[in-house]
């Protein structure tokens, strides 16, 4: 059914958001991440015509790779009434034959020469990695992304473990891929679940690869049905660990990107938990050069691109930025180790004119802070400056955002 509303309302005007990423001109920083939304050519076509700047096609591998999907494969981490605050999946790579993926790349590049079409690959043996690169490069892919981080484990030698969890294997495999890619850049998609992300990032840089995609889903156990004790997603009494994505992982991704950007010079392609243009700005401010989206689109559809573009456009106007690249890295100088943080004395202040008297701040401070908020008959609480240390808890719980911290 075609909606009468499709396209009827028009889209808010958007300034020029184009720039160069790894030598490729892109229309805007918003790229579809490898996932269900990029596994079908018609879906990608629709996304492109709606304004997405590019897509990483769902990961493919060599002929004969077994893709034995188990359903249901998606489950949700709901928090406080918010559906899909985190999404878990036990998906595998694309079930399509490599021939079809190759044809998809070719067709998309013909129909949409201005869009970034990236192919994602995963393999075991050196020959396989290299033949995949060769075929997809010849088909016209603009970029090769290598999944070293599928939460359902690696194909090949060390099943159950992610390639990017071994520094040595990461460097070696990335080298093979880079060797095979003669004309186009290569990005290595890594997992945040390692002891030291900087070691992995440095290994990728040493391999000669052009970029890092950071970071993939986080291996997680999505929840347990407490009456049957079967974890989510339930598959006839059994379950397994999922890859957690969506808003729940955003702060982890931010830290991962920041750590990488502080220690290596190759660009980072951001992914993992972005769900608005604001999140995208945050990702870029800690070093990402573009932002990939998967869960947001799975939840709300390609239509979210209108707000992503218009929101970023208005933000850039407000900030006086001329290119999305102006955002990249802006937050990094503000990061310091704890020892070097400024020490100053702050106290919380309640704007009584706006307080609605819920006393949520009172109980939070009494039982989780410093018992520095006193109750009053009026139910408008009073901060006791003698006891308040300025920990910053009460402003965070106030539903009216009427508590602030002020220099004492």
């Amino acid at each position: 059914m075609k909606s009468e509303q499709d396209g009827a309302a028009g889209t808010a005007p958007v300034r020029d958001l184009s720039y160069e990423l790894l030598g490729i001109q892109i229309e805007n920083p918003f790229i579809l991440a490898a996932g269900p939304s990029t596994d079908d050519i018609d879906m990608v076509r629709r996304a492109f015509s709606m304004g997405w700047a590019g897509a990483v096609l769902k990961t493919t591998s060599v002929e004969g790779t077994r893709v034995d999907l188990a359903y249901p494969m998606i489950s949700s981490f709901n928090h406080d009434g918010k559906l899909l605050f985190g999404m878990g999946n036990i998906d595998l790579i694309s079930a399509h034959h490599i021939d079809r993926v190759e044809a998809t790349v070719r067709t998309l590049k013909t129909e949409f020469p201005g869009k970034l079409v990236a192919a994602s690959i995963m393999a075991g043996k050196k020959d396989d990695w290299q033949s995949l690169v060769g075929r997809l490069e010849n088909a016209g892919a603009d970029l090769i992304e290598c999944s070293f981080s599928c939460p359902q484990g690696n194909i090949g030698e060390d099943p159950g473990k992610m390639l990017a969890q071994s520094v040595a294997a990461t460097e070696l495999t990335a080298r093979w891929v880079k060797e095979a890619a003669r004309r186009i850049p290569v990005s290595i998609k890594i997992t945040p679940q390692v002891t030291d992300i900087v070691d992995v990032a440095r290994a990728v840089q040493r391999s000669g690869a052009d970029a890092l995609t950071a970071s993939n889903s986080v291996q997680a156990l999505m929840g347990i049905d407490i009456y049957s004790f079967v974890p989510n997603p339930p598959l006839a009494g059994k379950s397994t660990y999922s890859g957690l994505t969506g808003p729940a992982i955003k702060p982890m991704t931010l830290r991962t990107i920041a750590e990488i950007a502080r220690h290596v010079t190759i660009p980072v392609l951001g992914t993992g938990g972005a769900s608005s243009w604001r999140d995208a700005v945050e990702f870029m401010s800690v070093g990402a050069r573009c932002v990939q989206f998967c869960t947001l689109v799975m939840h709300h559809g390609f239509r979210v691109i209108d707000d992503l573009r218009s929101g970023l456009s208005n933000y850039m106007d407000d900030m006086g930025f001329s290119s999305p690249l102006d955002i990249v890295g802006r937050a990094l100088p503000h990061l310091a180790v704890h020892d070097n943080l400024p020490r100053r004395v702050v106290r919380s202040v309640i704007d009584e004119s706006r307080c609605i008297g819920c006393e949520v701040c009172y109980v939070a401070c009494r039982d989780g802070g410093h018992a520095a908020i006193d109750r009053r008959e009026s139910r408008i609480p009073l901060v006791n400056p003698e006891r308040c240390v300025g920990c910053g808890l009460c402003p965070l719980v106030c539903p009216e955002a009427c508590i602030s911290l002020a220099e004492a």
């Binding site: 028009g10 808010a12 604001r278 707000d307 218009s310 929101g311 009216e400």
Partner: protein
């Protein structure tokens, strides 16, 4: 909404959400696909999209979407009847209560007031269209035609705004909101101030590729009973217009009777109370259930102490020069239904009564007043006949708004204008 605002919203305006209220309300939206609210809004504002933009902190984007779809966005943000269109259709209402869409879009456009608005406009086509009447229908049409790249000449007697400017009481529609809307629209047309009559109309017809007639309803219906010619008997539009422009010249006395059971009567009754009348009685020949009114208006009238006399109609106004009393007849619902599906009221013999009064306001409906508009077919009620594309019986002459379908709403008139603009565009581009 968490961003430091560069263009601070006007937080002082009464009836406008503050940031927090808007945030909380926006979060209630389910972001429906092919949303029923958008289908129900006559101008099809993409409601879930603009609410999602508010949620993401993209108020400029939200305001743009609303304004591009609704040429009188702030006006509708104030007086669009929330029980009629988008809100009863809202899916969220099936869970608890509908999202307060009208207030959210008022918040969006008002908080972005300082920002210029640029719709996407096509390059000039060299065609020119005359729009007759600068009420909601005419303005909606002119805006849309300008976006197609056509030149628009807008003819109106006085500043643009139609009924909302002239008659809708300021306590419901702050004038600044309407004036802000019309001000934004000013650069999309060339305004011609003056009354249209037969010669003027002839000239306009000759000089344009197409016409859109949106003259609304200008003539108050009269009761046709003895005593109606007295000085303190007011046709409602005249009364409301004077109350807005020169309230001190109105002498209504302390006991006022308003005849009629529509929104316009309620506005008149509320206005009379605000002008200082001690007793205001609304006389209606049917029952409360049959009133075609919005509950917010009836609540407001009750709050102001307006008395209601249902199942009664006046049959004579008594007085010497000025009104002294009104002779009323009791009515009851008859067995038959009329066109509107409501029982026809019938007279109850032997139950007449007197109501003392100093003035009477007659609010029993309005008709099209354009006598110069000859040669166009009319409906049996005297409205201009149009087809599904707002084309009248004369080629190239289109019409919309209250002049084609009787007393309606601002947003419905805007929608007529918008749809007609598309039809006009197709017509003149086809004509070549």
């Amino acid at each position: 909404m968490q961003r430091e605002e560069r263009t601070p919203p006007d937080k002082t305006a009464p009836g406008v959400f503050d940031d927090r209220r808007a945030q909380v309300e926006a979060e209630r939206c389910l972001y429906c696909f092919d949303a029923p609210c958008t289908s129900a809004c006559p101008v099809h504002i993409d409601i879930p999209a603009f609410i999602a933009m508010l949620r993401s902190g993209n108020a400029p984007g939200a305001a743009w979407l609303v304004r591009n779809a609704n040429a009188l966005a702030d006006t509708c943000g104030r007086i669009c009847p929330s029980e009629v269109y988008c809100q009863p259709a809202c899916t969220r209402g099936k869970q608890d209560a509908p999202v307060r869409i009208r207030e959210l879009h008022l918040y969006a456009t008002r908080s972005e007031r300082a920002r210029e608005f640029h719709p996407g406009t096509s390059p000039p086509t060299g065609k020119s269209v005359a729009v007759l009447g600068a009420g909601p229908a005419g303005l909606g049409c002119a805006f849309e035609l300008a976006k197609f790249g056509h030149h628009v000449d807008l003819y109106n007697d006085g500043p643009p705004g139609g009924v909302p400017l002239k008659s809708i009481p300021p306590f419901r529609l702050p004038e600044e909101d309407l004036v802000h809307d019309t001000g934004m629209l000013g650069r999309f047309f060339t305004a011609h101030d003056g009354t249209i009559d037969a010669p003027v109309f002839g000239g306009i017809t000759r000089n344009h590729d197409a016409l859109f007639i949106a003259v609304g309803l200008g003539r108050d219906r009269s009761l046709g009973i003895p005593g109606e010619e007295m000085e303190s008997v007011f046709p409602v539009l005249e009364f409301l217009e004077t109350a807005k422009k020169r309230p001190h010249t109105l002498r209504i006395g302390s006991r006022v009777i308003v005849v009629g059971g529509g929104n316009v009567s309620l506005d008149a009754a509320a206005t009379a109370r605000r002008l200082g009348a001690a007793e205001v009685t609304l006389l209606y020949r049917r029952g409360e259930q049959q009133m075609l009114v919005w509950s917010a208006e009836i609540r407001e009238a009750r709050r102001l102490g307006v008395e209601f006399r249902f199942h009664a109609k006046p049959f004579e106004i008594v007085g010497r020069g000025r009104v002294e009393s009104v002779k009323c007849r009791t009515m009851r619902p008859g067995g038959e239904n009329d066109d509107s599906g409501r029982p026809v009221p019938v007279e109850v013999p032997g139950a007449d009564f007197f109501l003392p009064a100093d003035s009477v306001i007659v609010a029993i409906g309005q008709d099209v007043s354009a006598d110069w508009l000859t040669g166009l077919s009319r409906t049996k009620k005297g409205f201009i006949s149009v087809d599904g594309k707002f084309q009248s019986s004369m080629a190239g002459v289109f019409a919309g708004g209250d002049a084609v379908s009787g007393e309606g709403t601002v947003v419905r008139s805007l929608a007529h204008g918008k749809q007609a603009a598309r039809a006009i565009h197709e017509y003149i581009m086809r004509k070549g």
